[in-house]
Symmetry: C2
Subunit: 144 residues, 2 copies
DNA sequence: ATTAATATGAAACTCATTATCAACTTGGGC
DNA sequence: GCCCAAGTTGATAATGAGTTTCATATTAAT
């Protein structure tokens, strides 16, 4: 769990864009990588703040944008209007099943659905570039 | 194309909630019903303004919310972060295929995908309440 | 017509996110 | 190690879609 690969990717991205390393970026990346959750900017901010109380909100957003561009992170835009960040590197494509009561996120995968999507797009003469599939409902614990 | 049914539904909704009819509500509903498109609040505002220049933005939002509650309208939240309104009455459930270049909306339908979604939810112990499926790509005209 | 309840438009306010900017780091050349 | 141009930061202002507030205007039941 040292995230060597991810860190190397970020370093390479920084280099390729002639950007610079900074303590803040390292720290935000560390916190993000160590947490296998779908975090909001606010949650990340609170966690990072514990290690560096002078961190600013904007730096969280800026760094998450960089991580996204570097291919380490995916921005999720679910119904509540708040962006969540999830790991992308070494995580194969998936969609989400979300509990509307407790907020639980479950990663789902369905090659059959993907195929059907392609078929539909083709039928309408579209070339698919991406899709969004979210299933909302009540999880096992919340439905009772 | 007189939308008798839709108007009756709205009247009944207004009555059931002890609300009142108003010129503005009628006008906004008319403009919405006559346009078989996925309109934003801004687009509706511009269209309504031509017939009643003193209309306020808030009245558009308030009325669209009422139409949604009455079951005549569905709010669509697609990637650009702007809510769009589409007809719901007499329109069976569908998802969307959206051209990211020209903004074209195509309504799609796939019972097979819906089935698979239910199956996935069930597998994880969820009760599905709704879902969101959007396919993004380039349409026939834009892909060349 | 009276009047109590609801609706309206303008403007203030949210809330997540982005832009601005002066002060501060970073890192490559000496 | 020091310089310094280029990039970064945190605070704060700005943005933009959507909502709330509130004084005034409409509606509809009597």
């Amino acid at each position: 769990m040292s995230f060597q690969k991810e860190k190397a990717i970020f370093t390479e991205y920084i280099r390729s864009k002639n950007l610079k390393h900074s303590e803040q970026r390292q720290l935000i990346m560390d916190v993000f990588l160590k947490t296998e959750k779908h975090l909001t900017a606010e949650e990340l901010y609170e966690m990072v703040k514990k290690k560096n109380p002078s961190i600013g909100y904007a730096t969280i957003y800026r760094t998450m944008k960089l991580l996204t561009e570097a291919g380490l992170c995916r921005e999720l835009h679910v119904v509540d209007g708040v962006t969540r960040y999830e790991h992308l590197y070494n995580h194969k494509h998936h969609d989400h099943l979300i509990c509307t009561k407790c907020g639980k996120f479950v990663e789902i995968e369905s090659p059959r659905i993907e195929e059907l999507q392609e078929k539909i797009a083709k039928k309408h003469g579209f070339i698919l570039t991406r899709h969004r599939l979210e299933l909302y409902g009540l999880c096992k614990s919340c439905k009772n």
